[in-house]
Subunit: 152 residues, 2 copies
């Protein structure tokens, strides 16, 4: 896809990430776009806000889009490389494309998705990277909890 | 693990599936067990009941268990082979074991999980199979929607 369009769509996900940051939550946002460039759903990680470990940014956007018979032609836009949980969501429901804000602070399943036919657009967005680096540095335990790396 | 224990734990997931069936929902249930055999969370598919496409049985049980620093030693018990979305959940959070009621009506990512170090116990439970066969035969469009196979 056109990179300028990808960067434009990423702004919606970044708005969600910023809102999560302002709430004291994990600053990851996502949006599901339809084939005509319309926003079908948007959301952010809600582990802290709702005490809900099952709501990552991508699953929040997917839920917000409601029940749909097909995801053909849709694009999941996320500020951070999707973890296995969210990558599995994309693969299972046949979401056609993923736009990733950055994969420097965490690299999930975006290469696995590309290997299974999903179009992956990996950006290197400075704001996405800065939001995550600041968050991880200040909240390492919370971040490890969110990706199941806390050990124990 | 001991198969009798696995079959016993499966009863909790089957209760959830039956409750979903009684509500007119998709009859798939799950439970997350702790390392001492305690139920940490349980739930069922809620696509129909809540209009929520993001709540599969496994993600419902995971949410019900609340925030946890680690899933080491836990077991996800589900009436049906977990789809990619739910398999990704298990892998990302390091859930140690999966007990699957049946994989005859649908085969998701349980072999992928086994290849990545998750202990998989595949049962061939007659009630799980009967619940799903009846549901799929009577509601093919709803079932395809739930696993993203509806095309279009």
């Amino acid at each position: 896809m056109d990179l300028e369009l990808a960067r434009d769509w990423l702004r919606t996900a970044v708005e969600e990430a910023r809102a999560g940051h302002a709430e004291g939550g994990i600053p990851i946002g996502a949006a599901l776009y339809g084939s005509r460039g319309e926003v079908l759903g948007r959301g952010r990680n809600r582990r802290v806000q709702d005490g809900d470990p099952a709501t990552h940014a991508e699953t929040a956007a997917f839920r917000d889009a409601g029940r749909r018979p097909s995801y053909r032609g849709t694009t999941m836009v996320t500020t951070l490389s999707p973890c296995w949980y969210c990558s599995g969501l994309v693969r299972q429901f046949g979401i056609s494309r993923v736009v990733v804000g950055e994969a420097g602070t965490f690299s999930g399943g975006h290469e696995w998705l590309a290997a299974h036919g999903v179009e992956v657009v990996l950006l290197d967005d400075p704001e996405c990277g800065a939001l995550m680096r600041e968050f991880v540095a200040g909240n390492p335990e919370l971040w490890n909890e969110d990706i199941g790396f806390a050990g124990g």
